[in-house]
Every structure is written in structure tokens, then in C-alpha cells.
């Protein structure tokens, strides 16, 4: 029986999860004949089919051009690129998200100027899925029991991820796991005990907790405070430089008296804090969790089996061997501390020898400063120096005293300013103020691009992006070692020549008032292309001169990116 379905009628394809049957579903949409579900014998076949479908769908949807049939000038080395479905999808995604990229792609790859592989070669970094390791979640671990009121059952859901986190945050639990599973009890049993302990702690009923702990050894481990953590905290504190102020950090180790005794669920701890069966407070939990998250996962632990996970973690923990303080290390630390803490009032006074600054020739120094200041005053200086006073000191002073006496004699003139003069003054002030205002108010956002009409601006930006891309490929192709590269260079040159012509036309057809700005904007682009053309010309001349010698041998690669214009 045959089934004929056109790829055109298929919109998307989905795969079933691996555990289920190997399924491939082709969705066509409601009006195109519905969905088709295919079941394969094994996953490998299904995957092959899936890749093929993805490719074809991609072609049909126009984002990936058909893989070019290698024309006659091809070289065997650039074969069909083997794309995995993942890469294809990634490329499609990139193109979908970035419209600029899509435009470039359309222009060059579909216009047969660049090949698909070359286009994406320079963008490999974007294609690579970030090989980052996801770290622990920042949210604190909460087992979130679901309580069934009717049957009074409390259900805990524990995933492998949560187990991993529990092991890292609570080393005592980890140790207990390593000891008991699978020798003493099954994993399920272990975790049910753990959940029991959690429930008990939440109730804050110390007596009940103590009773349970007395009966069941494992529960005791869970209910008591984590001794491994306590030891680690003690060790950490010993390592700290004693000159530091430890007061704010003393909470974790010293006692729970210093924090607010707020528990995870927001309630205040009411029970006796000295008992062993008390839940750790929020601040302690928070600190521990934060420390664990910040340390990060040191390796890629596969969360397959809890037992292997526990063993892995145990193994890794042993590696940073806890070098407990030897005497030597201690002594060294104390010596360092003594260096660092020096009490200033016990030191001898240090009188540094210094040379006072003196200006040898103040007049010269001042004149250089003056040149600056006076220039900005608009050169109102006339260049004239103050007319040298030919009077002697005494004469000058006598003259001044005369003036003052005349003031005393004449008293004050009521009419201090003539009205005409006053009017002139006002006019002058007005002019000055409005001039400086208009000068300062020039719109800072107005730049060359803003003055151009919208369409021209878009065109220019378009050209600029294309030129960047073309030039990048151009310069990367040198030295030309193969015919394919030479070909590519030719194609790029043609494309650039076209854009060059277009820019010329734009420049010439620009409106007269923006012509200057246009030519300024266009100049760097043309310069870059000129550089490329001239380089190519040189290469060709060299090639024709040195017949037989490969052009690649003598050239140093010129990698010059076009200078960014001040857009």
C-alpha cells in the first residue's frame, strides 16, 4: 500500500519520546489533510527519516536554499555539507530571530555569491550550543510534600536532581546513604526514612523526634544536626585570618543565638535551642545552600543511579585533601598575621623627605594658562597689553587719593547713569544672552544621519551591512591558494562593484543640502572597497609576473577591517 503525501502540505514534524515506540508525526494542519503518524522499528531509522524530513521542510519553507548542485568549476574538497538536524534547526532559528542576518543570507547565499558553508563558517560560534553546565538551582531545596487531608497521607516526590542537591548540601545524609544502601536497606526505604525525618522536624516536636531517634538509628542521623557540616564550619573558621572581624560570621558555628531563629517556613523557633533535634534555621540553610550553589558542579555527574552518584560525590570530596593544620602551617600563619597587624601608635614616626614644589617662572606658567582661558573668551583681548604706566609709584598713589577726595567733596551724583547709555547696555546684554542661548541650544541629537530622509538612510545602512559582510569574506580568502577561492573572490568583487556603483549614484543624486553629509558618509565605504580592489589588482599583477610561483608563498595576509564610519 502506498501513501502519497506532498511535503508542501506538511507544516511541521514531531518525534515521540524515546521510551515509547519510535514515532514520527507529520502535522499538516486542519485543512491540509490532517496528521500522519509513522511507527518505526527502531529509533535509528526514525532519526534518519526525521533528519531528511527536516531538510526538505527547511527547503520548502525557504530558509535553507537547496544544496547547490556543484557547478563545473567546483573542487572536490567542498562537498555537500553534512548537516545534522540539530544544526539545521539552529540555523533556522538564528535566521528567524535575526532579521538582519536573514537579509544578508538571502542576498548572498540565494544570490549565489557566497556558499552556505562559507556563510555559516564565520558564524560557527553562534551555532555552537553553549556547552555550559547547568548548575544547581538557586531556589532552595524544598521537598514540597503534598498532603492528602482525607487519607492523612503525606507524599514526597524526590527526583534525581533533588537527591544530588541533598547529597551536596547535607553531607551527613550522604555518608549515611553510602553506609546503608544497598547493604542494610533499599534506596526506597532510605528515602522514606528521610521523608519521615523531614516531617518530624517540621512539626518541631522535640520529644517526639527524640523518641523516634532513640528507636531508629537512621532517623537519628537525619534528625540530629549535621555533624559533618559542623566540623567543616569549625575548620573554616580556624583558617580565617584572626585579624578579620568575625562577629558577623560567627552565626553558623557558634550558636543559633545570634540569628533570628526563623525557620524555613517563616515560623520562629520556639523549642529549646540546645536540643539536638532542632531544625536548622533559615539563615543557616540559606548560607549552606548559597555556598553549594556558588561552588558549582565540578564535573558532569550523570544523574542515572543514586548509588553511583553518591559514590562519585564521595570520591570527589576526598580529592581536595583536607590538609588539617600542621604545626608549620600554623606557625607561618601567625607570622603573617603579625606582619599585617601593626599598631600605628607603637611605630616610630616616619618623616618622609619631600621636595616642596616651586614654580621657577610663574609668569611663563601663568601665561600658558592664560592662553587657554582667553582664547575661549572670544579673543576680546585685542592683543593689546595694558598700556605701560609711566607714572612712578608715588604719582600713581597721589592720583588715586585725589580721586577719592573729589568723591568726598562732590558727594554722589544722583543721576548716575544716562538713559541712553542704559538703553545701550540693555541691548548689548540682550544680544549677548540670546546669542549664547542659541549657540548652546543646538540639538545634540541631530547628527548627519538624522538629516537624511528615511529611505536613503535605510539604504545606506543596508549597503553598509552588505559591504561589511563582503569585505570580511574577501579578506579572509587571501592568500588565494585554490581555484575555488579565486572564484569566490571574483564573485565578491562583482558584488562589491555593484554596490560601489549604487553608492556613486546615491551620492550624485543626493539633494544639494545633504550632499556634503552624504559624501562624508559614503567616503569610508568607498575607501574600504577601493582598498580591496587595489589589493586584488596587486595580487593579479604579481601573479602574472611571477609565473609559476604560487601567489600564496610570498604574501603576508592582510587583515584590515574597514574603518568604522562615524555613524
Amino acid at each position: 500500500m502506498r501513501l502519497n503525501v506532498h511535503f508542501r502540505s506538511i507544516k511541521c514534524h514531531k518525534v515521540g519520546s524515546k521510551q515509547a515506540r519510535s514515532l514520527l508525526k507529520l502535522c499538516g494542519g486542519p485543512d491540509k489533510g490532517g496528521d500522519y503518524m509513522f511507527e518505526f522499528d527502531n529509533a535509528a531509522d526514525r532519526d534518519q527519516c526525521r533528519d531528511f524530513v527536516a531538510m526538505v521542510l527547511g527547503q520548502h519553507q525557504g530558509t535553507i536554499p537547496p544544496i547547490p548542485n556543484i557547478p563545473h568549476e567546483s573542487v572536490a574538497s567542498t562537498g555537500l555539507e553534512q548537516l545534522t538536524a540539530a544544526e539545521v534547526e539552529q540555523r533556522m532559528k538564528l535566521l528567524r530571530e535575526n532579521s538582519e542576518l536573514q537579509k544578508l543570507h538571502m542576498k548572498f547565499v540565494l544570490g549565489k555569491i557566497l556558499q552556505e558553508s562559507e556563510f555559516w563558517a564565520t558564524r560557527k560560534e553562534a551555532n555552537n550550543a553553549s556547552k555550559q553546565r547547568p548548575a544547581f538551582k538557586s531556589a532552595m531545596l524544598d521537598l514540597e510534600p503534598s498532603v492528602d487531608g482525607q487519607t492523612n497521607k503525606v507524599t514526597y516526590r524526590i527526583t534525581t536532581e533533588k537527591i544530588h542537591q541533598i547529597f551536596v548540601e547535607k553531607p551527613a545524609v550522604h555518608r549515611a546513604f553510602l553506609d546503608s544502601v544497598p547493604e542494610k536497606m533499599s534506596e526506597a526505604h532510605f528515602w522514606s526514612k528521610y521523608c519521615e525525618a523531614e516531617t518530624l522536624l517540621r512539626t518541631q516536636n522535640t520529644a517526639l523526634a527524640a523518641a523516634h531517634a532513640a528507636v531508629d538509628e537512621l532517623l537519628a542521623v537525619f534528625l540530629k544536626s549535621d555533624d559533618i557540616l559542623a566540623k567543616e564550619a569549625k575548620f573554616k573558621i580556624k583558617q580565617v585570618d584572626p585579624t578579620l572581624d568575625m562577629e558577623p560570621d560567627a552565626g553558623d558555628y557558634y550558636s543559633r543565638l545570634l540569628d533570628h531563629r526563623i525557620l524555613r517556613d517563616g515560623s520562629i523557633q520556639t523549642v529549646d535551642t540546645n536540643s539536638e533535634f532542632v531544625m536548622r534555621t533559615l539563615s543557616q540553610d540559606l548560607n549552606q545552600h548559597a555556598a553549594v550553589v556558588l561552588e558549582g558542579r565540578s564535573h558532569d555527574v550523570k544523574l542515572t543511579d543514586t548509588k553511583t552518584l553518591a559514590e562519585e560525590l564521595a570520591r570527589l570530596k576526598k580529592e581536595p585533601s583536607s590538609c588539617y593544620n600542621t604545626d608549620d602551617a600554623n606557625h607561618e600563619r601567625l607570622v603573617n598575621v603579625a606582619h599585617v597587624t601593626c599598631m600605628e601608635d607603637l611605630q616610630a614616626p616616619r618623616n618622609l623627605v619631600y621636595a616642596p614644589l616651586c614654580i621657577k617662572n610663574p609668569r611663563e606658567y601663568l601665561e600658558s594658562q592664560q592662553a587657554n582661558a582667553l582664547r575661549s573668551l572670544g579673543g576680546s583681548n585685542d592683543g593689546k597689553k595694558a598700556c605701560n604706566c609711566s607714572l612712578s609709584t608715588d604719582d600713581a598713589f597721589f592720583h588715586l587719593i585725589d580721586q577719592v577726595s573729589s568723591i568726598k567733596a562732590n558727594r554722589l551724583n544722583c543721576n548716575v547713569v544716562d538713559s541712553n547709555v542704559a538703553l545701550k547696555v540693555f541691548n548689548e546684554l540682550n544680544k549677548g544672552i540670546s546669542y549664547s542661548r542659541s549657540h548652546n541650544l543646538k540639538n545634540p541629537h541631530e547628527n548627519i544621519l538624522g538629516q537624511l530622509p528615511g529611505q536613503t538612510r535605510d539604504e545606506l545602512m543596508d549597503h553598509w551591512a552588505s559591504i561589511q559582510e563582503l569585505l570580511r569574506h574577501f579578506w579572509l580568502s587571501y592568500p588565494i591558494t585554490s581555484a575555488a577561492l579565486g572564484d569566490k573572490v571574483e564573485r565578491l568583487k562583482d558584488a562589491m562593484a555593484q554596490i560601489y556603483q549604487k553608492l556613486q549614484d546615491m551620492k550624485e543624486s543626493a539633494a544639494p543640502d545633504v550632499r556634503h553629509e552624504m559624501s562624508q558618509l559614503v567616503k569610508p565605504m568607498m575607501q574600504a572597497m577601493d582598498a580591496a580592489f587595489s589589493h586584488d589588482l596587486e595580487q593579479q599583477q604579481k601573479c602574472s609576473k611571477g609565473k609559476g610561483t604560487s601567489p600564496a608563498g610570498l604574501e603576508t595576509r592582510r587583515v584590515a577591517w574597514p574603518v568604522q564610519s562615524s555613524i
Partner: protein, 273 residues
């Protein structure tokens, strides 16, 4: 620049410290006679005192070798016709005494007496700042201080460091320094002072109407300046100029001790050696 608002009791009460240039060498050859200048000044001081009964004015004279307080409005006797005349007489006498004292000091100190002598701007600014500091410490209720410099003499290069220090301390205390140039030469010191402290710099073209300039531009209190449009310089050119040729440069050599700038590599710094 606004003053410290927490110390205000009314936002338009001002304390104006007027620094008057009494360099005889300058006034001997000035276009505007000293008598007229003084008359304009007195009218201006009266106008300020009339604007608000709590306004205060202090006049400091800067001579060639010394500076002194000439007039303090808080010393004046209570208002009245007799009081005004008496105050004026007192002020004029004080000016005369100061000039005589300055003459004596200059005669004793022969190095200062030269035709191109500068007024002691640094001393006057320091006196002004001291007075203002005393006002600041007088309590929470005090006027907003500002300094007005009426300068005609050229800048004295030996005072450069001292003047810059006064300017920075004025900036720190948020005291604007206004400048009115009554001479022919612009003053670089005062231009920088006004720029740094947020004051007004003005070089009037029409010296006969000096009172009009003073009343229109410099009588405004600091609060009103936020919504009045006063003459502004077009901008200060902060590019450095080299010390050897006085040309503006973008890249040069700097002495690591005194930070003077040169356009060519020099073995020995001409400023500090």
C-alpha cells in the same frame, strides 16, 4: 550652583562680598575715572541693601601690597538720613586711609612696585572667604553668600596658586564668584573662578553704564538665578596648551612632578626643574 538650603531662612537674602580693585597703576590710565567708578559702586551697594532689609554687603579693597575691609553693612547705624551720609563719609575716609596705607606698604616693598603690578586678588579672595566662613558658623540663619570681583588690573602670575586655592575653597563652600572686568584685558583667573564656582563673568563694553550692568546682572540673588537668564560665556576650552609655545595640543609630554605639559620631549622641566 545652589547654596546649602538647610541654612536658609529666606531664599533671597544675600550677602554680597564686593572685592574692589584699587590698584593705582591701573586707575591712573583707566578709561573710567575712579571717582565715577566709586559712585557707581556705592549706588550698587545701596540698591542691594534696598532689595531686602536683611541683605548684607561687605566691601574689600585690594591694593598692590595689601587688602582691607572697607565697609560692612552690618556695622552701619540704623536707617535715617543722617545715618546714610555718615556711613558714606565713613566709607570714603576708610578708602583714603587704605590707599595711604597701601602706598606706604608699596614704598617699603620696592619689588612690588612696577608699572604692570597686579592687584592682590588672592589676598582679597581669602579675606572674603574668611568672612563668609564666619557667617556660616554664626548659626543656622544666615544669608546666602556670594563674591563679586570688580577687577581692572592684569592677573599676577605669582598669585596663581593662591588664587586657585581660594577658588577651590569657594567651590567647596558653594559660594559663587561673579566677575566684572572694568579694564581692557580679560582675566583668566576670574574666568576660571566664575566657571568653576558657577558665577557670572562679564566684561562690559559700555563702562559709563557700569551701574546698569551691575544692577541688571549682579544684583540678582542666588535663588532667582535659577530662573533668570544671565550672560554666559560660550564655554571654556579645557584643552591643554603646551608651556613652551602656548599652542593647544591633544597629545604631549607631562612632567611627573608638577604636571606641566610640553609638546616636545624635554630633559628638564622648565616649571619645576
Amino acid at each position: 550652583m545652589t547654596s546649602a538650603h538647610s541654612k536658609l531662612y529666606s531664599d533671597d537674602v544675600s550677602l554680597v562680598v564686593v572685592v574692589v580693585d584699587t590698584n593705582p597703576f591701573f586707575w591712573a590710565t583707566a578709561a573710567l575715572p575712579f571717582a565715577d567708578f566709586f559712585a557707581n559702586l556705592v549706588h550698587f551697594v545701596n540698591s542691594i541693601l534696598l532689595l531686602n532689609h536683611l541683605n548684607r554687603v561687605v566691601v574689600i579693597a585690594s591694593g598692590v601690597s595689601s587688602c582691607a575691609y572697607i565697609f560692612d553693612s552690618s556695622d552701619a547705624s540704623p536707617a535715617g538720613g543722617v545715618g546714610v551720609a555718615a556711613t558714606f563719609d565713613k566709607a570714603s575716609r576708610r578708602v583714603e586711609e587704605f590707599i595711604a596705607q597701601d602706598a606706604r606698604a608699596t614704598a617699603a616693598n620696592s619689588s612690588a612696585a612696577s608699572a604692570n603690578a597686579a592687584a592682590l586678588l588672592s589676598g582679597a579672595l581669602s579675606l572674603a572667604m574668611c568672612y563668609i566662613q564666619r557667617i556660616f558658623r554664626s548659626g543656622t540663619r544666615h544669608p546666602q553668600p556670594r563674591i563679586l570681583c570688580l577687577q581692572g588690573s592684569p592677573d599676577g602670575p605669582e598669585q596663581y596658586v593662591a588664587v586657585m586655592n581660594s577658588i577651590f575653597s569657594a567651590q567647596r563652600s558653594m559660594v559663587p564668584i561673579d566677575s566684572c572686568i572694568v579694564g581692557t584685558q580679560d582675566s583668566a583667573f576670574l574666568q576660571q573662578a566664575s566657571y568653576i564656582t558657577g558665577g557670572v563673568y562679564l566684561k562690559p563694553q559700555e563702562l559709563n553704564g557700569l551701574f546698569q550692568y551691575l544692577a541688571a546682572v549682579f544684583a540678582t540673588d542666588l535663588h532667582s538665578r535659577t530662573f533668570l537668564r544671565l550672560p554666559k560665556t560660550l564655554g571654556v576650552d579645557f584643552r591643554a596648551s603646551c608651556f613652551c609655545h602656548k599652542k593647544t595640543i591633544d597629545m604631549g609630554y607631562v612632567c611627573s612632578v608638577c604636571l606641566s605639559i610640553f609638546c616636545k620631549n624635554q630633559k628638564k622641566c622648565s616649571t619645576c626643574g
